[in-house]
Symmetry: D2
Subunit: 286 residues, 4 copies
């Protein structure tokens, strides 16, 4: 089953690692011209020749039209999909694929797999995200996380993994909840819980606040009550969950930390991508 042949388009450092990993596992993989990945770089025709899946960057586009590459020449998705179609390539991987691109792809009978829509990727990415959040908290604070009071807002993938890791390192962790089911799980995992609607009564007590909820949770009413020494770390997707202008005006230390996996643990991040790409290829190309 080594018929998997991948073409990597674009390339931050994570993709360089990904390239090496895929190669090491015995699959064929080629890199495109303007990446710093390969010695033997390929133009688009070469990249697509006897390839069976294309791996686009993270994010895959910034203008909804062209592949997000650092340098010239630009590649239009229309052009790319046309070529893929000709070469009989039906699998397309990328990060944050906009609806527009997906629709375009479907016209060419190309299946799009957005990493971040794959639930296992999202769960596994919560690990380097949580660890990156802890690293950031350590760097920014003058106290230890051990035996500090930490508040985690949200109990989704990231909130679950982060709260468990913070507990493991010795923090006194409280997690916010909205419904009784989450409250029960938070308790069952040995963490303290606080109903989101009661936050304002306790928000001044924490040394660290980690937000994972993609909504304006820490608005000025709550921020007003936060201790000036508290480190606030925002892990929610853009635009985050904090009133940053108010935080700045009142000298609160609020840090917006998107894309931690690629930054703090590119190797681990690449491994997660690899696992997913290979799994999907194995089932789609079977």
């Amino acid at each position: 089953m080594s018929k998997i042949k991948l073409g990597i388009l674009g390339g931050d450092y994570r993709y360089k690692i990904l390239f090496d990993m895929i190669k090491k596992e015995g699959y064929e993989v080629k890199a495109y011209l303007n990446t710093y990945i390969d010695n033997n770089k390929n133009n688009l025709d070469q990249l697509l020749d006897s390839t069976n899946a294309v791996i686009a960057p993270i994010p895959c586009t910034k203008d909804n039209k062209t592949v997000f590459l650092n340098d010239e020449p630009t590649i239009k998705y229309d052009e790319l999909f046309e070529l893929m179609h000709k070469e009989n390539i039906h699998l397309f991987f990328g990060g944050v694929i906009p609806e527009e691109i997906k629709i375009k792809a479907s016209k060419y009978n190309i299946k799009c797999f957005d990493y971040f829509e794959q639930e296992p990727v999202a769960v596994l990415n919560a690990i380097p995200t949580a660890e990156g959040a802890i690293q950031t908290a350590m760097q920014e604070s003058e106290i230890c996380i051990f035996s500090s009071k930490a508040l985690v807002l949200g109990y989704g993938r990231c909130g679950k993994v982060l709260s468990n890791m913070l507990k493991g390192i010795g923090a006194d962790v409280t997690v916010s909840f909205r419904n009784e089911k989450d409250e029960a799980y938070i308790h069952a995992y040995g963490l303290k819980s606080i109903c989101l609607s009661n936050l304002k009564c306790v928000i001044d007590k924490y040394d660290f606040i980690f937000n994972t909820i993609p909504a304006m949770i820490l608005d000025r009413n709550l921020l007003k009550r936060v201790n000036k020494k508290t480190i606030i770390i925002d892990l929610a997707q853009a635009p985050g969950g904090i009133d940053y202008s108010f935080a700045r005006d009142t000298n609160l230390k609020a840090l917006y930390c998107p894309g931690l996996p690629g930054r703090v643990a590119p190797y681990t991040a690449a491994e997660i991508l690899k696992k997913t790409i290979i799994n999907i290829c194995l089932s789609q190309l079977a």
Copy 2:
């Protein structure tokens, strides 16, 4: 908000504790004649008089017709609901309420709350269930759970809580999964994982096997491979997930352990019921 007035029908030991707890929190509560709960026992009319919710046993019936009470006199649900209706009582709590009873209740405009259908109850009950499973494993085995190899089948509520607790006490824990999302979570919580379809290759390696999946998982094909010293503990709902006749014939130690919360930790179990009953009453009677 002390307008909550509860009538407890039936009464194993857990309900006796529940009765005391509710009273201690300042709510009104009465017990029925043939329970050993109260000094001041009530007949059905007295029980329902100025009460606003009825608490039936666990299970609430065994014949789908009468309230499950140990002694005479029997109370028919038709009769009970009729009386509740007259007294303007619209809340009915119980364990394992059959569809038939629910339909009957709805005719009298009575809302049924089955404890075990309340997700928070089910999650919280996973705690005494897990602890009871560990206690049983300790009692039955000649080795320590610490540093033993434990397999948990299933990663639902009970599998999650049990695997985490086993890890906490020092076992080397592997959890089975069916899908990649669960696999990712199992990994993120620091546990080993095994795909259910690969079980047969590894099933001989465990000192303890805990089943939480309500389906015939440990059939004779798998049981044949299990080590004779392994302790198998089945936490799945009736009829469990083990081929018991085969286990018996081959001298495997397979224990069916239903209803652990009420048996090993009646106080904790009662507390979970109380929390739910009060929460529902507060929102329904508001």
Copy 3:
């Protein structure tokens, strides 16, 4: 290096397991007449013939004169050592070896190894002791250990292992200390601490109290303040650390639990003995 040849004298169930384990590892081992261990039982002469270490019971004697065996014939230590000396056997293992026996042995140039004086054995035994204590606490109580308040008196071997295991299973653990060094370690291991001299102010708050200090700690002044629902488990060596007569008179649930390893986890206990015996033989017979 299979020149290790052992003779087992006496035999509770743990020794039966020990016998099988030693055999399984490829060493020679023989059992004495009146044990239920072996098919091929030996009289004393046969046992000692071309043996190089003798393993006596736990405890090795009850009268300071004869080997502690359940049945006739009795074996006097004078006689045993005389015979060992003749056979050129210089290693003697046993549990709780009194000074008198040790002196006797030294006259015959026999080295005595008391299991319980071997620090590694004592540390490793703390594991089944802790687990047995937790099992006992689970059996005796109506609440879960998870999220209960547990007090551990003493931070020696057993206190360290037990407090860590209780925390792992989700208890809220407080450990008593006498000096600041222990206080610091208790904190560093994520546990709460209380100075032994302040116990009386807080002793009423715990659901479980585990004593590991071999001194009268829980005297009537402290017991008076203990909650009637508290389960007290005493792991200290005889005579334990609780005023039992006072506890009985006041209906406190105080359980004296000596020798847990052999009782709750004989296999684990035997493994610890085996490891020590083999290690010592390897270094002494080298």
Copy 4:
């Protein structure tokens, strides 16, 4: 008991925090001229006036003669102790106090307390040291610590706390040991162990190596076998435990990390000092 009156000489950032903490607890404290701590700075006479303990820097001297201060004027210890003696001050705190200074002090009947000789301080300092080591490992590596393979060399204060914290954050931790007692404890705390003499067989397997042993452990024979991707973090006291010149020549990533508490968690570090200073003052001035 607010007769504690302290004079702080010298002042890195940690001492600035210490100053504020002591003040906040209600004790009297003064700062010396050339620190950036206080508004109301004091010359030496003012500092010592009605003070009952002097707090010298960390380290307290670099030349064994004068107080280690960043700026002029220099203060000789002869002079300082003479003045302290006149003012009837008998307590002197500082970090890394050389024997020479201690002898000098004793002539003036002044008791020296070196923070790092106080066992509780050393244990508590292991917490920010461990956390700083983890932070450094996170910053330097491209992988997560979670589920990485980590080796901790040494099982003293720092090894104990670090290995436990690494386990808590999800690493697969192995700890080296020299004697069976440590081996037993390492096992009892749920960690893997490796005898120091067997290191060379396994040293290539780790993603992270943390050294806490103050001796040349990682010599060129061992370093030769270490994986090029491994991050080595040295927490041992100067000169550390790694052959740095060999590591450099072979492009190994070996980081010498002394004094982590003051650097990564100055607030926590100051709190540890404060606790010790106050405790000692309370007992010495009683």
